[in-house]
Symmetry: C2
DNA sequence: TAGCATCACGTAAGCGCTTACGAGTAAGCG
DNA sequence: CGCTTACTCGTAAGCGCTTACGTGATGCTA
């Protein structure tokens, strides 16, 4: 049972395939009678346009590609597999939402560690543009891709080649957080739980944290390195809890998932948060506000990040021309209880990011 | 700067386009010298095959579609938007992984509530098969789609039309949980936090919970209905905490996210878990083991669910023929501390699901 | 050396659609 | 009433690729 084509529709409606195409695409130059005949045939035959043929002829796939690094949760099995990064899921949601608004679909591929970037390459011939998340491909690969396709890099360093970069203002959020801990709470001995060195976001965060602490006269009394997973946070938390030295008065985790792990261990070991140690995160994932104590963190607009990336892609291919090759989304400090405060307050921190306002408005945010 | 085509390659390598195609697709009947010339041209020109043209000619898109209902987290803004269902993200990951293994990509669209299913319809012409998650479209739409395209329904009732159903064994997991609470802990007064009535999974779960409780001589002293979000769990938890009646001895939440909300409120209000009230969930999302207390729950293999769905799709289009039109994946009881137990133990519960073993093995699980 | 496979490659058709161009008809004008 | 203009619709080319079929060259057997 072959799927019906416009030829079938044409025969059924007694018109030519050109007329069918015009009716389907709501073009002008058609009598309403013929249009109705064609649309009736569509219903009768249950016709669905072949997107492949349409794309080939039309010259656009109406698809945006999203390339992410593989993140797998499989607690039951191989533990060397990485835990999923919850915020990436949010980015994907945002991108899909933004694409959908223009009738586009999201083509998702993940790149396994050490698996090469063939999958990303393949996407060039299947999409109208690519969003590459968080170092899913190497610098060279990024340049290669951006040279021949519209590419937006998410959570990337400043653009080196033709790619557009969309990222969040890690530094500003981190600064607000450290200032809060040092100035409001008077904590002078801080600990830092870093993220993986491969992550651009993570690196900026801990660097800024250390700089800001130094500038404010606080000391970094310990640093640990995790991989952004809750289980790595758990591991680190345990080593702090059972270590010889005095724990830091406040522990800054470079993402929420690691903070989740830390909080869990501290609760088990009878370390009071925030009484003994204040703990903070970064990201503001869905569950953070429901932890006990509710997590003080820096909110990064993950969905907006994905949505903005796709919007940029559209502008890029429309030739509208972006005002800037680098777009920075704002972060905000979300103060809950794990730092020692009482409830939730938000210190919205708008960065000086002129481009952002424009792009975000397109997406219906601003 | 037009993207290079096989015509450019042919000219460069001094061969015909047919030869180029053969070289690219590793077909036989080519001297290794010509093949090398073509591949050299590929490198020089930075050629990437046009997937659209390939698909049209080849007759397959090498794409599987995934249709989900919109789930948006936007705590900052419109609160009527639903919180993301974390387990859906896991399903997406699993599907992508399974698709990737065969060189397929995942085309993702979400359907907004009340937005119609046009987006899903469109996917028929753009994919080789469709996975529809958790009632993203109506029964009629499902039938229409399944009549003209390979379709796998996830977390759906038994198949009514041509679709294949892949779901988890909700009943078995729920039964294990209730038995644990009643038999091991001796709880006789249970409360149930239901999920949305539209969800097939949720309905089976609370029905089974109530039946099992009755069969074991425990009483259901209260039921509440949430929407699977943590915030609805929070709302329900608050009404329990501040309500007049005595709270149930154990509170069964029909998913983890609602349990997260409940746990949070109880911690705030000084209700001890599991001392005063035992709390359980369903799903075993990433963070559940890190909550305090760690959540006793029923693990559903969300990634496997997605992976299995895609695998089924492949079998369906290969014409290999599925042994059954309904595949049930096992659930397992994960006992942590929120029920009153001490640590983590797992009661693996293999359901009598002969098909599953076969399908899952294909995916490298069994 | 005639005859026949076999191999390596080119030719051309066709996948289902969009769209430039042209043809035919009806309407508008002096 | 003859002309132009506008409208409606058909014809055909082409998007970039795969592949059935054909052709010439080479190797083998009798």
């Amino acid at each position: 049972m072959r799927a019906p084509t416009i030829y079938d529709l044409a025969e059924r409606a007694g018109v030519s395939i050109a007329t069918v195409s015009r009716a389907l695409n709501a073009k002008s130059g058609l009598s309403s009678a013929t249009r109705a005949r064609v649309l009736a045939a569509v219903e009768e035959l249950g016709y669905v346009p072949n997107g492949t043929a349409r794309g080939l002829s039309y010259g656009a796939t109406e698809t945006v590609g999203m390339v992410v690094a593989t993140r797998t949760t499989n607690v039951a099995q191989a533990s060397e597999e990485h835990e999923s990064l919850l915020y990436v899921d949010a980015v994907i949601r945002g991108a899909e939402r933004s694409a959908q608004r223009t009738g586009y679909a999201l083509l998702l591929v993940s790149i396994r560690p050490r698996s090469g970037w063939e999958a990303a390459k393949k996407m060039v011939g299947r999409t109208d543009g690519l969003v590459i998340v968080d170092r899913a491909v190497s610098d060279d690969a990024m340049t290669w891709l951006a040279e021949r396709h519209p590419v937006v890099a998410l959570a990337w360093d400043s653009p080196k080649g033709s790619e557009i970069v969309v990222r969040i203002d890690n530094a500003h959020g981190t600064r607000l957080l450290v200032e809060h801990l040092v100035r409001e709470h008077g904590f002078t001995e801080l600990g830092i739980v870093r993220g993986p060195a491969s992550s651009f976001d993570a690196t900026v965060r801990w660097r800024t944290a250390e700089e800001t602490a130094a500038a404010l006269g606080a000391r970094i009394v310990g640093t640990w390195t995790g991989d952004f997973s809750a289980s790595s946070g758990e591991r680190i938390g345990r080593s702090i809890a059972s270590g010889p030295g005095r724990p830091p008065r406040a522990l800054l985790c470079m993402n929420d998932q690691m903070a989740v792990g830390v909080l869990n261990v501290f609760a088990q070991d009878g370390i009071s948060v925030p009484g003994d140690v204040a703990v903070t995160g970064f990201d503001d994932i869905v569950v953070s506000r429901y932890l006990s104590p509710p997590l003080t963190t820096v909110r990064q607009p993950a969905e907006e990040l994905g949505a903005t990336a796709v919007t940029c892609l559209f502008e890029l291919s429309n030739g509208t021309g972006l005002a800037s090759r680098e777009i920075v989304l704002p972060t905000e400090l979300v103060v809950r209880s794990s730092c020692g405060c009482n409830g939730e307050t938000r210190a919205r921190a708008w960065t000086a990011a002129p481009d952002w306002a424009r792009v975000a408005t397109l997406d219906g945010v601003g």
